[in-house]
Every structure is written in C-alpha cells, then in structure tokens.
C-alpha cells in the first residue's frame, strides 16, 4: 500500500483562536494535528483505538476522541482542549477540584478526564455519583482507582451550582 497522497486545507477554532493549515495529509488524526502541528501537547494518546479517552477534546461542545477523528473532519468546528479550560491564570472549577481532591497521579489521563467531565457538567450540571461513574467510564485511569476523580467532579459540580460546601 503506498502512502496516501491527498492533502487538504484544514481550518478551525482551537480554544477560541482560529487556525488554518494547508497541505494536511488526509489521514492525519486530529490528535496528531493538535499535538504536533499546533504544539498543544496537553491532549494525550493512550491507546489510539478510541478505548481509553485520554485524547478526549470537545468538538463544538461535544466530547470526541481526537485519535479517531481526522483533522479534516474537524474543519469548520470549534475545538476545546485541556489547554482551553482555564481562563488565563484562573483554573476551571474542575481543575481546582482535581487538585484539591487528589484526582490525579501521573497526570497522563487527566486531560481526557477533565474534558470529559466538563462535557458531563454542561450536559448535566448536577449529576449523582452513579451518573459520574457511568459518564466517565469511557476514560481509563490506571493510577487512582477513580474514587478521588468522582469526588472531584461532584465537588466541582457543587461549586458551579453555588452549593456551599460539598459533602464529598
């Protein structure tokens, strides 16, 4: 099989900034494009077959596996990566809660969890523990045993909803 020759122009917004690249190989994945062409190395590749969720990004607000998405497929969309969660120096409530609840160890799966959890909270601002466990079951963490990740997502939800003092 010879190398695919098709090249495309790809243009989309990443974390609020518009970007365009020419001569993008048709087979280039969104993950490789973000990591190598945009130097946004916060998005990680854990399995490259859509099963671990480490590469999760938001495409037009919906969570997507950037390892199974071609860069060309994202043409014309708005993409959010882990680098886009914080507002300048102010961390997203999920990022703060992950830190406070010790929801990360090696940090490799963390970007995918943060992005997936952000999608969860935008769909369901006040999830139960079971709903969090179910929603995040598309992401694998090998370090934490998940308990503190679940606690962090619930704490962030409580903060976003303005509930004083979370009970988790």
């Amino acid at each position: 099989m010879s190398a695919p020759q098709i090249s495309l122009t790809v243009a989309f917004d990443v974390n609020g900034k518009s970007c365009a690249r020419h001569n993008v190989e048709a087979r280039r994945t969104l993950a490789d494009f973000l990591r190598e062409d945009m130097s946004l190395t916060g998005t990680h590749l854990g399995c490259e077959h859509g099963a671990c969720g480490a590469c999760t990004v938001l495409i037009d607000g919906a969570p997507a596996r950037s390892c199974l998405t071609l860069a060309a497929q994202a043409n014309g969309t708005q993409i959010t990566t882990v680098e886009g969660l914080a507002h300048g120096a102010v961390l997203h409530p999920l990022q703060r809660a992950f830190k406070e609840k010790h929801a990360l160890q090696c940090g490799f799966c963390t970007p995918g969890f943060l992005v997936a959890a952000a999608a969860l909270l935008s769909e369901n601002p006040d999830p139960t523990e079971l709903q969090v466990r179910e929603y995040l079951s598309g992401n694998i963490c090998r370090c934490t045993g998940y308990q503190f990740i679940i606690a962090a997502v619930l704490a962030a939800a409580a903060e976003i909803n303005g509930k004083a003092g979370s009970n988790v």
Partner: protein, 794 residues
C-alpha cells in the same frame, strides 16, 4: 509552615502543569531535525528468519535508514541483560540466553523486534516498514508455563535445555516433611496467578540525540530509573562511556514496574542516533505496548499447609512454575524467587516453610516486576490457602489468622524464609479492619442477600511485603548486580530557596510535594521555596530510581541525611556569626540560636553568609551550602495490613459486585496522608482488576496475544469499582529516620486474595470449590452451572 510539613495533607505542587496540559512527557518532545522510528515486529510466536529484504524500504519516501539484526550484530551491539543472578538449588547461576535488541536469526515471541525503520515522519517509517520482506520459517511454540517443561515441548534457547531457566528452592525441606508427617490436617490448593499486562496510560517512548561535536548522547526515555538505564546501556549493551550518555526521564505517565527495565527500543534509538546523526523519536502504539512491555505474574502453583488440630500452622510447602517469557527482562529472575519465596511466612509463625520455583522460557513477551512483583503472588498463595484451611477446619477465618499471627512483642522476628521483620501489629490491624468492615454483621447481610436470590461472601487478606529495596549487602549476597541505596542533594541558592535533587523518580507518586514537605519540616523552609528535581543524569547524583515502594523509605531518608549535613554546617557558620561555640547552637524551625538565649540568626542569613563569605570562618568551614547524602537501608521495611472484600454475586448472570472494600494498612508514619490514600486506592484498583477482569491471554496454538487491545484486555473503569474505606495502623519503622515503610504496592498485593476469598466464600454454599482469576462473570456463571450439575447428579 507546620501546615505544610510532615504528616499534613498538602495538595500537590506538580498538579498545576498536569491540570493545564503543560506537562513534559517524552512524546511531547520535538527536536530540531527530528526523525521517527518504527519497529517491525514478529507476527509469529517462534520462527527462523530465513531472509530479510529491506531494499524497497530503504528507497521508500522519507526513509533515512533501515537496520536489522545483521547490522546491530556487525556493530557489536550487546545483548540486553538480566541484572540479577539467581543460583539454582545446585549453586549454578540461572540460564541467561542472549537477548538481541533486534532479532538476528530467530524470533521468539509475537512482537519480537525484527527491524528498525527511521524516516522523516512516523507515517513514512510505517509505510516503509510494510515494504520489508521477511521470510519466516515457523517453528513450534510453547505458551503455557505448565507445559514448558514437558518432554517434547518446543525449545526456545540452546543455552536453556528443557526451557528451564532455574530450579530454585528456599527453606528446610526436611523440617517441612517432618511437620507434615505429624499434622492433624493438611489443606491443599492449586492456583494460577494470571498473567497481567501493566498498561501504564502513557505508552513507552524514547528519543535519542547524538552531538557529533562532543560525542555526547542524550536519551529521553519513559524510565523509572534513568541512572540504571544509563549504567546498563553504557557498561553492558552499547559501550558508550557513562559520562558521554545523558539519560533524562521527564514526566512519566505511570510505570507500575514496567518502566524499570531497559528495552530494545531505547537501546536501538541511542545506538542509531549516532549512525544517522539526527535525533530519533519513537512512541509505542498501544498494540506495541501489549506485545513488547514486560508483563507480570503468570505463576502456576501447588501449595500445602499442615496444621495441628487447633489450626496452628506447622509447615507450608509451595511448588511454583513461573513464566519468564521468551527472554529474561532486566530483573525477571528475582521476582519469583527473592521477592516471592521470602514472603511466604506472611504474618504467621509457621515454623517450617519450603518453596521450590522453576522458572521457564515460553514464546510470550518477557515477564518481570509489575506492581508488587512476587509479593502479590506470595500473598495470594498464602491467604487463599489460609481461608481454604479455615473452611475445611470450620474455624472462623479471622480467628484462624489470630491463632497464627506473629505477636506484637516478637520483633525483630526471624522467619524461616530469610527475612527478619522489623515491626508490626498484625492483630491490631485485623481488629480495626474487622470493625470497619462490620465483620460481625456479615451473616445478617449474607442472609439478606440470600433472600434476594443473591450469593454474598466476605474475604480477608492479611498481607505483608518486604519493600524499601534494599540493604545493598543483602541483595548483593542474593545475586543483585547493583547496590540499592539512594542519593540526595540539598542545594541552597544564595537567596535562600532550595533545590533538592533525588535519585528517586516520580511517575505519579507526588515526590515533588512529599519530598518538599520533608525539607520544609527538617529545615524550616516554606514549601514554595523548595524545588524537587529528579530524572536527569546530568543534574542528579547517581541514584537507583523508583520501584519496590522504596522512594520515601530510602530516597526520603537520603534527603533527611542531606538536611542533617546542612544543619551541621549551618551550626558552625551560625556559631561564628553569633560569636558562640558550635556546640551551643540549636536549630529549630529554620532558626539557629544560642541555647538558652535570644541570640539567633535565621537559616537564610546563614546561607547568604555561606555564599557571600565576607565575615566567615573560612579556615574551618568551606563556603557554599550544598550537601550530598547517600542512604543504604539497614533492612527492608515491612508494610503489612488487612484488606477485607465483601462481594455479592448474582447466580443467574455470574456478575460480582463489590459491596464494600476495607483496607487497614501499616505504612509506619505518613508524610502526606492524601497521597498515601491515593496510592492505596490505585493499588486496590489494580488488585481488583487482577481478581475480576484482567488477563493477558495468548492463544496456545498460534502464540498470538488474544488480549492485545483495550477492547480485549479489561482494566477497571469508574463503574467497575466501589469507593474504598481506608484506615491505618501505625507502627513506625525502627530503622529509618522517618519511621516510614512504603505504600505504593500494598493494594495490588493485598486485594486479589481478599476479592477471591470473598468469591469463594460466596460460592462455597452452592458447591463451587475453586475458581481462578480473573473471576469474570462468565467464569463464575460456568462454575455455578458445573456445581449445580454435579450436585444434581449426586
């Protein structure tokens, strides 16, 4: 300050970069003129390579170079090594067949490296690899360790007749036989400890660069111990002088043992970087990780426990076959011997123990240390047979353990299998765990489950581990090729902040925080003024790295020693500044003072004076404030505890649900309870994974890895695990300055036996006697069906 010191729940310093996508993992590197490597791997479990034709690949678009085993052999690239020599029962060293980084004439497992393609892009390297023609002549393969020693089994290595790596024993066989002869009861058990695939979420990766001007190589690699990597590559494999090779292990996304070892890929990248005179990067795809990372466990064991009429353990004998895979990984030989047989006393006074281990070669990926490494296997044997014995003797499982525990006043306690335990309170941990788990209320809960048509069981696991590896003299006498001390350097800057260099390596453990807490407490420096630096052989003193739950007990102790040297030097300087005798100077909370007076000078002032020595005792003390220490532990540390699993099984589906999981661990003193609890959770998660879900399976005929993706190899996800109830028993370690024991592996060691004991407890009433890990719903359902059929027939 005290809110940030030893014993406090301090949030982690390293989190900021990980949470914002600003970490620096190996695959994030982009070097100028960087090329990409791709490895062509064997599709066969065992085959002769009749011919390799790389011509078409060499001229494919973007290709820089293609190398095969013929090239590395011609260049005299050495064999990958196994660094621990185990002597068999006749005193002969283990069989050590060569392990070429690129296969020369034979491939011995699916995934064995056959050729390396270097190209401008990863895609071009991969495209070119497809153009390499390899003529394989397939050979018969052996996969199952229990069959590797059979007459007529496929043979892997001429150097290891019969596929035997070694036949090793420990303990007094005659004493064991005598005890069995007078036993009132003997419990026998057959166990499989399932093959696991570690699966750190960051795949292995490496990048290598050669500077032709200086002759300097730099290797970035996903390593838990960069100095050991440098030593092995320099002294044994590549012959690059140690001072011309810099190894950097930047942020590493989990290891669990699998990143201790020195693999073919980083070896080849380093070697080839000079050949092509350009930087080369390689990152494993997950399917490559599955077939080329060192796997874990894979034991087949028969064990027998002899007891008197009251259930007092008289003797234990254990016979194990351990799978080494196709080649010996870096520390493979030690895992089923000195990290396994020595732990078979567990928490008990069993006076006579004998263990025989035969390690065998098979056509599978190499097997080496994975979280716990030998100790989970020992705990599984012992704790499964103890509960089996309790069932057979009709003695309560907690009571049977109590009758056999080593007493709290018996330390140091010499076991019959080499180790001398230093401290512990096993009965205390058991009592606490039973209370937390509401053990007394279990029968009521079992009855409630039964009323709903469910089967409920409870299982205990009273584990011990020897960690904090290790006293160098001891491991040296047992065949280790290295010392196992740790290094530390505490370097003050003139402005008063501190850089701490440690030979330990953090790949999730939070050393940047925990070690800073140590320095903050010892020296009274605010946490944010302490920077912990690790993972670079160019800046960190030679260190042994992180494995075997050693970082705090050994690496942390080295930091304390370095802090002590800072204080001792600071006292001399302060004495000069305060015009007093050094013997009269006290140091507390970052301040030097003359005892019994209010005359004092803060550490920052002393440090400044050391760097700007205008008024300074130069004839007594050197300028500067920068101290090195090396710490070699006096003994292992012995974390121990009790984990209890309560499980409910739906007999109609075989689905097991963990109703409650309780852990009481004795790690000695805790430096950061939040981080410790995280380590416990993660270990339990992996232990439950082994018990219920995970299994590295090869097809016995073809030798293909059937569980080669996340669609096939099942790791626990958020909806597979419960929340864990974690408590502590604290008996400080008596021989290290912090009184700490090590917490990283406990969960993975204890949990499998707790879960499987719970499953056997739940299934005993329906006649299921034995079920192997992983107890998947399918296996449980089938076991129940078989038992039903058998019962109906009887």
């Amino acid at each position: 300050m005290s809110e940030q010191g030893i014993g406090k729940r301090v949030v982690r310093k390293e989190d900021q970069r990980f949470l914002t996508g600003k970490g620096h993992y190996t695959d994030d590197l982009q070097r100028i003129r960087q090329t990409h490597a791709y490895f062509l791997r064997s599709p066969h479990a065992h085959a002769k390579i009749a011919r390799i034709d790389t011509k078409a690949a060499q001229s494919a678009p973007g290709v820089v170079a293609v190398f095969t085993g013929a090239d590395t052999a011609a260049a005299k690239v050495g064999s990958l090594i196994c660094g621990w020599v185990v002597k068999d029962k006749h005193g002969e060293p283990h069989k050590a067949p060569p392990h070429p980084a690129l296969a020369v004439d034979t491939v011995r497992h699916v995934g064995d490296t056959v050729a390396m393609v270097i190209a401008e892009t990863e895609a071009q390297a991969k495209d070119a690899a497809e153009k390499i023609v390899v003529d394989y002549q397939e050979l018969p393969a052996v996969i199952n360790p229990a069959k590797a020693l059979d007459k007529g089994a496929a043979q892997l290595h001429a150097e290891a007749p019969g596929n035997l790596c070694y036949d090793w024993e420990l303990g007094d066989r005659a004493a064991v036989d005598a005890a069995f002869a007078k036993a009132a009861h003997v419990t026998k058990i057959d166990l499989v400890n399932n093959r696991l695939i570690p699966n750190a979420m960051e795949p292995r990766a490496a990048a290598a660069e050669y500077d032709a001007g200086s002759g300097q190589y730099t290797l970035w690699t996903t390593s838990q111990n960069p100095h050991v990597t440098r030593l092995v590559l320099s002294a044994f494999v590549l012959g690059i002088p140690e001072h011309k090779l810099r190894v950097i292990a930047p942020d590493v996304g989990g290891g669990f043992g699998s990143k201790i070892f020195i693999y073919a890929e980083e070896t080849l990248l380093t070697w080839a970087s000079a050949k092509v005179n350009r930087p080369i990067k390689w990152t494993a795809e997950r399917n490559e990780s599955f077939v080329s990372d060192a796997h874990g466990r894979d034991h087949v064991t028969h064990a027998e426990l002899a007891m008197d009429k009251d259930g007092k353990f008289l003797a234990l004998k254990v016979d194990t076959i351990a799978n080494m895979g196709a080649y010996l990984s870096t520390f493979a030989t030690a895992v089923p011997t000195y990290l396994y047989g020595t732990l078979l006393a567990g928490q008990y006074t069993t006076p006579a123990i004998h263990v025989n281990v035969r390690s065998v070669f098979t056509n599978t990926a190499p097997v080496d240390a994975y979280r716990g490494a030998g100790r989970p296997e020992a705990t599984f044997v012992l704790e499964r047979i103890v509960e089996q014995a309790a069932r057979e003797m009709k003695i309560d499982k907690a009571e049977l353990r109590r009758r056999n525990f080593i007493a709290t006043d018996a330390y140091p306690y010499q076991t019959p299998v080499a180790l001398a335990y230093d401290s512990g309170n096993y009965a205390g941990a058991l009592k606490k765990a039973l209370e937390m788990a509401d053990y007394d209320g279990f029968e009521k809960r079992r009855a409630d489950s039964k009323a709903k048509g469910k089967l409920r069981g409870i299982g205990l696991s009273a584990y011990i581990e020897a960690c904090g590896l290790a006293p160098s003299a001891v491991v040296g006498s047992l065949g280790a090729g290295v010392g196992q001390w740790e290094s530390a350097q505490v370097r003050f800057n003139p402005t008063g902040n501190v850089q701490v260099y440690t030979g330990s390596h953090s790949h999730g453990q939070g050393h940047e925080t925990t070690f800073a807490q140590l320095v903050s407490t010892q020296l009274g420096v605010p946490l944010d003024q302490v920077e912990v630096i690790h993972g670079d052989t160019a800046s960190v003193p030679f260190g042994m790295g992180t494995y075997g739950s050693r970082s705090l007990a050994v690496g942390g102790s080295a930091i304390v020693k370095a802090c002590d040297k800072i204080i001792a030097k600071g006292k001399k300087i302060a004495a000069h500044m305060l015009e007093a005798s050094a013997a009269d100077i006290e140091f507390k909370n970052g301040v030097f003072s003359i005892a019994g007076t209010d005359k004092q000078v803060p550490l920052g002032g002393v440090v400044f004076s050391a760097y700007v020595p205008h008024n300074y005792p130069l004839n007594e003390v050197e300028p500067g404030m920068d101290e090195n220490a090396f710490y070699d532990p006096a003994n292992f540390t012995y974390p121990a505890g009790v984990h209890i699993c309560e499980i409910e099984i739906d007999p109609d589906t075989g689905v097991s649900t963990i109703a409650k999981f309780t852990a009481v661990d004795d790690f000695g003193n805790l430096v950061n309870p939040m981080i410790v609890e995280g380590q416990v959770h993660g270990g339990i998660g992996q232990g439950i994974g082994q018990a219920l879900l995970e299994h590295g399976v090869y097809d016995e005929k073809s030798g293909q890895l059937l569980t080669g993706s996340y669609m096939d190899y099942t790791m626990p996800r958020a909806d597979d695990l419960p929340s864990f109830d974690v408590g502590y028993q604290v008996t400080p370690c008596p021989h290290n300055p912090l009184g700490v024991k090590g917490c990283g592996e406990a969960g993975a060691i204890a949990a499998p036996a707790a879960v499987m004991n719970a499953i056997h407890d739940a299934l005993a009433p329906v006649g299921v006697k034995s079920i192997d890990m992983p107890a998947t719903s399918s296996r449980v359902w089938q076991a129940i069906q078989r038992a039903n059929t058998k019962m109906a027939a009887e």
